[in-house]
Homo-oligomer: 147 residues x 2
DNA sequence: ATCTTAATAGATACATTTGTCTATAGATTT
DNA sequence: AAATCTATAGACAAATGTATCTATTAAGAT
């Protein structure tokens, strides 16, 4: 619903790295614990984020993952695109590919509002926003308490 | 992404029945063709809609499916709930169950806008809205041309 | 050089979603 | 009553998403 489990993991991992990646690379193992993501599965997701050039991986001692560029320049849509094949928020709620404003489906105009809201959100929300919010609270990411 | 394939099928089927169900029951076979949904799979989805008391099924000659109540009283959320186990639009984009306004995640407030938009949409959009839109256009549902 | 650390890669396994096949039950028409 | 129509039910199959295991590669520390 809305996004896949994998996409959710990717967001959690990216958020963690953004929040405390300034002091050096974050290890997959630590991410796995903090964000409660199965470790080996997480590694695969991180790999995708590296291939999408959102993260940089460094091996060996003191290795781990860091953001590949300024947090301001990494948007939610980048992360979703890296892990979900056909991410671009669905044009048509009925799944009709040819649906557009010229030839709309029966819910096109009504659905457009929600779609645009989501569309704008993933394009305008960055990891920097997450970092800013993290400064406002005493605890950090909270993922370790999934209850 | 956003909704499952099954949910998409359910919406398409329900829309078709709403649009031309006034003149009598709509057969699964016809729905299958018009909405391009695998027939036997569609039957299972329709069964769920019947069990959720959104549709009424009649067997035998001239049988098929009709809306169980006035189209004004069947909302998108009803259809989604019937086919998706945990439908209620995700409170937290990170999937953190304990996330709420008192103890928000790092994206809680930003995500709330989109979530509320979607939430409101599925609760306020009814099959009647689809019927009304259908009257405005010459063609009906268009699902038969999925390209 | 050797050891340790941590990412990478590939094979495999499990779960869920999606889709198919076949037989049965119930209703209408003749 | 028989034939036809259409939904229902359950077993089965395929595809995809999620998760695990193990060996390898690359880098830093000693």
């Amino acid at each position: 619903m809305i996004i896949s489990q994998t996409a959710e993991y990717a967001l959690r991992a990216a958020a963690c790295i953004a929040v405390h990646g300034d002091s050096g690379p974050v290890r997959a193992k630590d991410l796995s614990i903090e964000a409660t993501i199965p470790q080996t599965y997480l590694s695969k997701i991180l790999r995708k984020l590296v291939e999408a050039e959102l993260l940089i991986a460094t091996k060996g001692h003191n290795g781990g993952f860091t953001l590949a560029r300024n947090a301001k320049k990494i948007w939610i849509i980048d992360i979703l695109n890296a892990v979900e094949p056909q991410m671009t928020p669905r044009q048509c709620i009925f799944g009709w590919r040819a649906c557009n404003s010229k030839k709309p489906c029966l819910l096109h105009h009504r659905w457009a509002e929600v779609r645009n809201s989501f569309d704008h959100w993933i394009k305008s929300t960055s990891l920097e926003d997450i970092k800013l919010d993290a400064k406002k609270v005493s605890w950090l990411t909270n993922f370790q308490k999934p209850e």
